[in-house]
């Protein structure tokens, strides 16, 4: 496979992802039995379904609905909630929830980043791996449950901003440790470096007294960025569980509530946000791979100055 194939696939997928995901949900909405307007206004409990369908843009088929929704979404108009907060703009709710999810993911990234860095530099002894692996066996829901109990005992059932800060901090820690996140970061990075160090050019660099890290890094960087993207997606996936169990008003909690109430307005907006973030991660990975390839092409000798 030529070197540019993977970055190209990533760049194309990154652009298409936020467009395709709402399209799939819209298609599925029309594929469900019955009229989509019946979800907002079941005929057995309310009349005026036709008028509501026209008001919610559901009366001219899935393509019209999708194009209209997407054209508004690019201007940050995410539509209105159907059932969860019927009639309220979803954007307002997202403005409240996205910063919390971003903070949660940020806190989760810290142990992952430190684990990756320490493993890359060889600072973490191998015998400690068992500890990460043992912690990683715990599912996020169990650790989140303990965090929820701690916060409720400490701050009461309706704790204020201080409670939210602790929820975000501890929730982030849960995401960084549970489900093998940290263990994967440490062992994944170490294995990648160990495999690279076996390569002949690194062995020669070692004989020449050059830095192993600096020599191997450009070549393992695409793999490490790919692993980090996978971990961030894993963290985002777990964020749904942690936010609901711990009680953090974030994007995951919004998606969960929308799913429970069959609120397609909320689900469309939340999945669009998740797919846009996933697309951005993929775009970053694709561009990084191109940048690394460009850098390696500029330094064909593949070695760096001696320390």
């Amino acid at each position: 496979m030529t070197w540019w194939m993977r970055p190209l696939v990533r760049l194309v997928a990154a652009v298409l992802l936020p467009l395709v995901v709402p399209a799939i949900i819209t298609g599925a909405l029309w594929a469900l039995p019955g009229d989509p307007a019946n979800i907002i206004c079941p005929p057995e409990t309310c009349d005026g379904t036709a008028a509501l369908a026209a008001r919610w843009n559901l009366d001219q088929g899935p393509l019209h609905f999708y194009l209209d929704w997407m054209s508004k979404a690019v201007t940050l108009d995410m539509g209105r909630s159907w059932t969860l907060m019927a009639g309220s703009p979803v954007y307002d709710e997202m403005v409240r929830s996205v910063p919390n999810t971003a903070l949660l993911v940020l806190w989760a990234t810290i142990p992952l980043f430190l684990g990756t860095l320490d493993a890359a530099l060889g600072l973490l002894p191998r015998r400690v791996d068992l500890l990460w692996q043992a912690i990683g066996l715990l599912p996020a829901v169990i650790l989140a449950l303990l965090v929820a109990a701690y916060v409720e005992i400490t701050f009461g059932a309706f704790g204020g901003d201080e409670a939210l800060r602790w929820k975000l901090l501890l929730g982030g820690l849960v995401l960084g440790l549970a489900d093998g996140a940290l263990a994967g970061a440490v062992t994944g990075t170490r294995t990648t470096f160990e495999e690279e160090v076996k390569q002949r050019y690194v062995q020669i660099a070692m004989l020449r007294g050059e830095s192993v890290f600096a020599n191997a890094m450009p070549n393992v960087l695409p793999a490490l960025i790919g692993q980090m993207r996978g971990r961030l997606l894993h963290v985002l996936s777990g964020a749904v569980v942690v936010e609901v169990v711990v009680g953090i008003p974030g994007l995951g909690e919004l998606l969960w509530a929308g799913t429970l109430k069959q609120d397609f307005g909320v689900v469309l907006a939340a999945t669009f946000a998740f797919s846009a973030f996933s697309g951005a991660l993929m775009l970053f990975q694709g561009l990084s791979e191109i940048a690394v390839a460009w850098y390696v092409h500029r330094s064909p000798a593949g070695v760096v100055e001696a320390r």
Partner: protein, 276 residues
């Protein structure tokens, strides 16, 4: 027999026993749990064997049995699907079919591009009410987990030498069936395939617990089982109330015990299939 081989044999036997116990628990599950009995409220393990009762006087082992019935078969199916995809990717890498290999990698990139839980929730949203069982969710999870398993299996096959490895063995006179089934799959890809399958099986159990717990916390019916049955999440939910002061420590112990049993089973399968 070498100690390492003995350890693998022991791990395989222990994993098989644990998994058999899980399946038997599911088969022994009552269709409905006992009616509430206010005379038996909050009894401990010794007062009401084997595991005590909950705050409604219902024996909590019935929740454990029903929970095993919910997760057993879907976890097995998800594991088998993942293993099948990993096997396919490993074989394709060795089969000198670069375009198929590239297509599989591209498909894997696209499938694995979104957070899995987001996809699962969208799938759950689309499920008709009658389909609210774990199996479709588990199959979806297995398909989402497959790219990672395929990537690892393909990398292992690549490290082996890929098509050159097959060519070399052919030159030694081995048949294609023996090369692929024995030399590639059994001797080389087995640890990766079994580990990925075991991990996905375990993840499906944890996913069920998470989804049911979230539904319980939101006081809504779960996507993964009918309202008449109870998941292991019920035990953890009761255990949570123990942390907050209710007398349901035994629910927490049983809930965590079942989580440990699942994780232990997956780890033992992984150990049993580890490389020589």
């Amino acid at each position: 027999m070498s100690p390492r081989r003995g350890l693998r044999g022991f791990a395989l036997a222990a994993a098989a026993v644990l998994f058999f116990v899980l399946l038997c628990m599911g088969q022994a599950a009552p269709e409905y749990v006992s009616s509430p009995n206010l005379d038996n409220v909050g009894r401990g393990m010794l007062e009401h064997p084997p595991f005590g009762t909950d705050e409604r006087g219902i024996p909590i082992h019935e929740y454990a049995l029903q929970g095993a019935g919910i997760v057993g078969i879907p976890a097995l199916v998800a594991a088998l699907i993942t293993m099948a995809f990993a096997t396919l990717a490993g074989i394709v890498r060795c089969a000198d079919a670069p375009w198929l290999d590239t297509a599989l990698q591209a498909a894997g990139e696209l499938v694995g591009a979104l957070p899995r839980m987001v996809v699962i929730l969208v799938v759950a949203l689309m499920l008709p009410y009658d389909w609210r069982v774990l199996l479709p969710v588990a199959v979806c999870w297995a398909l989402l987990a497959a790219p990672a398993a395929m990537d690892e299996a393909a990398s292992s096959a690549g490290r082996l030498g890929g098509a050159r490895f097959v060519e070399a063995l052919r030159a030694h006179g081995f048949t294609a069936t023996r090369i692929y089934a024995y030399h590639i799959l059994w001797n080389n890809l087995r640890p990766v395939i079994v580990r990925q399958g075991a991990e996905v099986g375990m993840q499906v159990v944890f996913l069920e617990i998470a989804l049911s717990y979230l539904a319980l916390a939101s006081r809504e019916p779960s996507f993964t089982h009918p309202e008449s049955s109870y998941s292991w999440a019920t035990l953890l939910y009761q255990g949570y109330t123990w942390i907050l002061g209710q007398d349901l420590f035994h629910s927490m112990v049983l809930g965590l015990g079942l989580v440990a049993l699942t994780a232990g089973c997956a780890q033992l399968f992984r150990l049993a299939a580890s490389a020589r």
